[in-house]
Symmetry: D2
Subunit: 501 residues, 4 copies
């Protein structure tokens, strides 16, 4: 039996699918508005079982040479590449994102596996000869034990792949709690890992809700928690995990601004903003949701160009690759997004393109909101202060780059941002002084590549080490420093090793 | 006015000594059992004042080239070397440690300044050419803003020096809350920093108690907290700082074991244990407080040798360099240490040398406990389960190295440990499998040198990045990742820069 | 057509096999003593053709994002794993090494490909913010252009794989001149690279002799030379390549000593020495060819144990995996090895096991020398002073480790060495003070893993950067340092980007 | 006796000044055209003596803990800062450079000492746990032994400081052969090193000519050569040093171009070019000697602005800080520079400002050439193809940035270059594709800071590792890789360390 054969989505523990009788929840196809699949929600016993299996697997995995651990990742990459289409379909059915978008997500995930294949390099400790006379000292980066990842619905494959490949090559065992809205991708990845030769118990998936999360947060065998989700939950996760003495990195919400300077090429800007704002229905923590135009002329021109292009965008089912983006994840979320649009309207924003009441033919029950463009947004509007997480682009008008930067620096979040310009000095000034962790210059979605690390500032990230890349190596290991002296005076002076005569 | 001229110990804020009228507390000379000095305990207004000054100083300090920031540290090192004796005296009067011991503490502290002088190397970001076609990406490690250090009584100079030199060269402003029992060293360091050219407001000292600490923990301008102290407070600090969204590293208690294998040279072992166990009255988080002897023969011999040597040890006033160690920090602490000795005796331990009721001539009111050796300790005794933090060495007897390691791995703490052996395999087996962060092989106090990082495992450290060394650079900075593309197609193909004709 | 279909071994240039009419040389099967295949020897025109193709391919390959270049290596690794058996057979036919030995060689080679997959990490430059006020500086490691590798007969696959995967992922084009005695493996690797998606012209193989080598050494488009072979040729290569202004790393000969201390476990020692001394007929630059026994008792016991084991060893054809090792590479080389044995005998060595006149049944014309053990070697013997490069193990007897180390330090070569002991101090003393680049402690063939670098000292390596591993990244790139300032005073103070009003 | 007391400039060997009777040569004050001092030219015996002392000093220095070696550099920095003015005077008298210029030189040199103080960080080896089961491997970077530096007249303090601080903290002994035209600075540095606590024999200075150089190049105890000078000598040094099996880095000549794009701010450009072209009389390997103006309008404007400013420049004696630059180093060199000006004139260049026949009042016999500006230079002129190394700025006019870059890429040298622009894309295109090692964007003298490395491409540098910075650490050490296994099976399974019963 495998993930392909069933509508009951269980857990993956100790190298096997597991479907204990327990509470269930419907998994919707958001384009259809209905759900045939059901996901099991782990109770505490099930989570405990996963932890126990990981605990048993850990000592052998920890002592497996890193090059051997890495070989599993090389193979996993190959298998994942061979199964990309199937995984796209799984993601599309539960999340609704168009296939080409899911393909991009998986590709990004694979790059994290590729980086994990650098583990022999990344895990090198530092060796110092003669820290004192005849004393050497060195560091080793040893795995923590069992670490857990709690991941969001919007990247069912990529965000887990940010975490577990590196955690695992570092020698840890991993327990993944994916979103209960999009659980299947994680299980399929688990299957491929086993095929790639990963010993059982090293990687486990438990589906569930707050019960499972809280059990993980409090369990004394869980050494570290990686989380990606909304800021309110991230804050709870960080506070709770650390209260129980764990290390924790918790990535939260965002409000990502693009600043458009007068010297920018507005055709390029408009084109690149479309994908950045509306791709994946804006359900990305790096989605570009606010444009700050410097000068009314820039704003007017840009709005005009964007309006034309936005009205051409197509929404619909994931499997039709002519669609530009799909539905939102749930009815509740659709309502929330529409609430923000309406609220902005009431507060004085100008709705240039209105995506409310979007009902693609044949998918009238889907959770769709169309691409929405709102001009004349001001920072005191409710819809500006919160992350909308939908296909909504807001325009703010200012007079100078300094004004634009002040608005950004005043926002609660500091995840990503982008500046459009041709000017080297503007770029350097902006990237130096903006209080945001990931900065694009003419790059609207400045997601760091897999060999750098992902992390925002302010309320966008709690913790000190960022997701994936070099930071994740340090996060998933603890340092051990050995100081060594060999002492018998006899040896050197008196030739202890000479033969007795 | 400076630190040398007064018995009222105030604060150092914005480049000046400050003595607002506020609550005071006596600072004892623990060898005399009396105190002439008084330390001011900051209220919230005073802490706020320090934070405000730091906040004003930050933008200019952040943008000062790193090489210039580093030059301040070069000069600070020089000044500190020139003033070592005075600083020793300050420490001796308040802490009681013998001058040669204080000298060692300062020397270790200076090595942290030296490492901070490597900042131009340590702060290098990672630059990747062509992460995509014509797209470059790089990381910058920018200072956090204002960070705070809360430090213990036992190393009035060294532990602050673990923290602020690196925090400051990274471009941060720093607020130090030293122990109210030994506050003067910090103020003297502040003075030297100003002499070395540090702009005012970059480094500030506030003396105080839990009121000051809590104010720092909750203030939204404080970005990070470094703490060294007991585990109960460390746990509180970590939980509270993280609850307020800050990054935090909190170092707590320890119970450091030495394992003596049958092949060890017992004369060397005995000699090296003396300083490790009794130096600074055992008031060190790396003090060697338990010896696990493998085999009764080893235990018997070692106890005999230790007894002879321990009975020769001298305790007394810090200024007499013939003394081996000084008093404990306070009357309360002396009573607690004596309680643990008495309790162990009641629970069946054998008191080989008894340090209770030690009253050096002329210092009968001092808080002294003499060197104490206890044999036949078992892991279930109360005095074993807790950190005694006094001049008490406990002996446990086992049959094998595995048994010894199991005892260590079962303890709550995992700070330091040491193995005595000549055998390469034993050393490697021990250092690999022991659940302790700092491991010595024939080195009883395996404190990592300044260019490595200090940190224990389990309840000895909360957080993911360790104190000083490479880890501290990452702790005191946040990563910013820039992704940059320059885009006008005109430039390359159409020679935008050629002259119009 | 491909490498599998012909007995004429040509070149691989610009993605294609090429067989220009030119001089030829027989490629022997050394176990049979005859050769059915012929290898073409490139004239200058052919080498020029390869260089020209590489020159054309370079600009596009250089500008291909490193992650894309790396993907070719991921695929190449997979293809090579799928074709290991065929490659073993190719190597066996021309070199004579037993299949399991060839398998090991390829496995080591694959590990170099795996390390090359870390290129995105390894190629990161260093970014420094504010080296002066508003001035940033960073380094980029750009490819050199065309680089060449000249490789020996004894590792037809592994030594090329030390070089070209890293050179290529760094963005260079590569010309390989393999040994004309074992040319086929290189051509097969070229085929697989093309299958893996490498653009044509990036990797080229030219077969040939000194004519080809000299042409490469003198050509101004060749930027760097990597060489592995004998010291006399290495010296010539280094002198000539540098004379023409190129960078060069030239690895030469070796005489690798094992020192056996009295505390070593002699059964283990004897077992591990067998493979180290006789594996691949001793035709390895890391072959363990001298044992220095500390104490006559050790020597006597070891010789006795070795004699018993050596007499059980089997030599023969590569395809019979019961054989322990195969023939030497040529008739001339067999004669040279036998000359050294005879010479040693004349100079007073004791021949414990004599491998001369070995004629395995059915392979009487093969170039075999059996495993040979010589005791009582002294450093002034001719056979000691030179690298024999055959299945000959020499025993030297000394009284102390210091004496042993002096002998090693006096030898011309400093490639590899090994100490057998249980003693931590001896290991540290030996590894610190021995004048040898690669040191084993209880590891007789201390070939560094692929993520470290390979290189000997003294006459074993000319150049400053070693083969493969981290050093090779620096060798195959040149550093470019950019210092950048953006300067218009207008921008910040006068808000150049605000709209004109 | 010290450097201050004599007009006979000898050697510094084994911690002492040495003045053996030998050949002498006059050291000129180039502003006066006469010389009171004489420098001794070492014969082979003197060089041999220096090498022997270094050889004796090496073993102890090598084994001195790196932190102790570094402390010497901290002290040396302090002493040098305290003696900057005296050193300026020494340099001024022999080289002629104006005091503020000498001050800058020394400051740059001190930054190299500061970087050498990072040695504990820089010398860390790489430690890999479990490269195989129970096998660890790590690298150590050990000093080479004795290394030599051969330095040019134009930076009597800075270029030696590029080399020996790092070589020495790495554990090497150093022999410096400074230019015989400006020898005193090196001797003064030697004195300060001794005062800073450097053991005798670790640093030695021999003055001399080709005899001394050749003796160093051929001596088998010299492990590495660092050279800075002209390309013809650099090429000879590289060829000869490598022929004798040494590692070598040899930095040669330059022709550094600035490209001025139409969007550049020409006032800024003109101002910054003055110092870059004429500072230190253009006797810098990073001097900006060619401006390529894109567009005639740019050229015309720039020439006009430059002419005005150049005519204000003052030349004269080093001690008058109102002077902008001083004399050339020698009569011969003055004649050569004037030859190139005359030759350019003959070949059709336009002499805008003519510095020939410059005779400052009171210094009529000095070797002065005034600032010279030549327009309408073409790449085929002799004066363009060679490095003039004088206060001569040449203007080339082109139509596009591509044309400008082609001219630069066609030149023999590839040391430094600069682009003036405001455009981010132009900057990135230029820095990516220009075949030059050190690139400035709006920075006319892009000398890398001390924590990066200095090196040009093409004929500007021979070797693979650059001067100072991270590269120099690798250059001055050889890698040793240890692979270690501890083996007795007894230990783990059979509890070898349990007590016999």
């Amino acid at each position: 039996m495998n993930i392909k054969d069933t509508n009951i989505i269980g857990h993956y523990i100790n190298g096997e699918f597991l479907e204990p009788s327990s509470e269930m929840q419907t998994v919707y196809n958001p384009a259809l508005g209905i759900g045939k699949k059901k996901v099991l929600l782990a109770d505490e016993n099930t989570v405990e079982q996963a932890i126990r299996c990981a605990h048993v697997a850990f000592p052998i995995w920890r002592d497996t040479p890193v090059a051997k651990r890495t070989k599993v990742m090389f193979k996993f990459k190959q298998l994942l590449e061979e199964n990309m289409e199937y995984l796209c379909e799984l993601i599309g059915q539960e999340h609704g994102k168009i296939s080409h978008d899911a393909m991009g997500e998986i590709q990004r995930g694979i790059e994290n596996i590729e980086y994990a294949c650098s583990a022999p390099e990344l895990l090198k400790g530092e060796f110092s000869k003669n820290v004192g006379t005849n004393i050497d000292s060195w560091s080793e980066f040893q795995p923590l034990g069992i670490v857990a990842g709690i991941t969001p619905f919007n990247f069912p494959a990529m965000v887990p792949l940010w975490m577990f490949p590196m955690a695992i090559v570092c020698g840890n065992c991993f327990i993944l709690k994916p979103s209960e809205k999009t659980p299947s991708a994680a299980l399929f990845l688990a299957e491929l890992l086993t095929q790639a030769g990963l010993p059982k118990g090293v990687f486990n998936v438990v589906n569930g809700n707050k019960i499972a999360v809280d059990y993980l947060l409090q369990h004394n065998l869980i050494q570290a928690i990686s989380f990606v989700g909304s800021t309110s939950i991230a804050s709870y996760i960080y506070e709770t995990a650390t209260k129980f003495g764990k290390r924790c990195q918790a990535l939260g919400g965002a409000k990502n601004h693009a600043v458009v300077l007068p010297d920018a090429d507005l055709d390029n800007v408009a084109n690149s903003l479309l994908g950045a704002a509306f791709g994946s229905s804006g359900e990305r923590c790096m989605a570009l949701s606010v444009v700050i135009a410097v000068g009314d002329h820039i704003a007017d021109t840009l709005v005009k160009k964007l309006k034309i292009e936005i009205e051409k965008l197509k929404v619909g089912i994931h499997s039709n690759t002519h669609n530009d983006f799909g539905p939102l994840i749930s009815k509740e979320h659709k309502e929330k997004v529409e609430y923000y649009i309406t609220k902005a309207e009431e507060e004085g924003a100008e709705i240039v393109v209105d995506g409310r009441d979007t009902k693609p033919l044949g998918y009238e029950n889907g959770f769709f909101v169309g691409a929405t463009l709102m001009d004349k947004i001001s920072p005191n509007m409710e819809s500006y202060q919160h992350e909308i997480f939908g296909p909504v682009l807001q325009i703010i008008r200012v007079e100078s780059i300094q004004q634009a930067m002040q608005i950004i620096n005043n926002h609660t979040y500091g995840n990503g941002t982008c500046l459009y310009t041709k000017d080297g000095e503007a770029a350097r000034y902006f990237s130096t002084h903006i209080q945001v962790g990931m900065v694009g210059i003419n790059v609207p979605l400045p997601v760091p590549v897999a060999y750098h690390s992902f992390g925002g500032w302010k309320k966008s990230l709690f913790g000190d080490l960022y997701a994936y890349g070099p930071d994740s190596v340090r996060f998933y290991t603890h340092r051990k420093t050995i100081t060594q002296r060999w002492v018998s005076k006899n040896f050197i002076e008196e030739k202890q090793f000479s033969m007795p005569t």
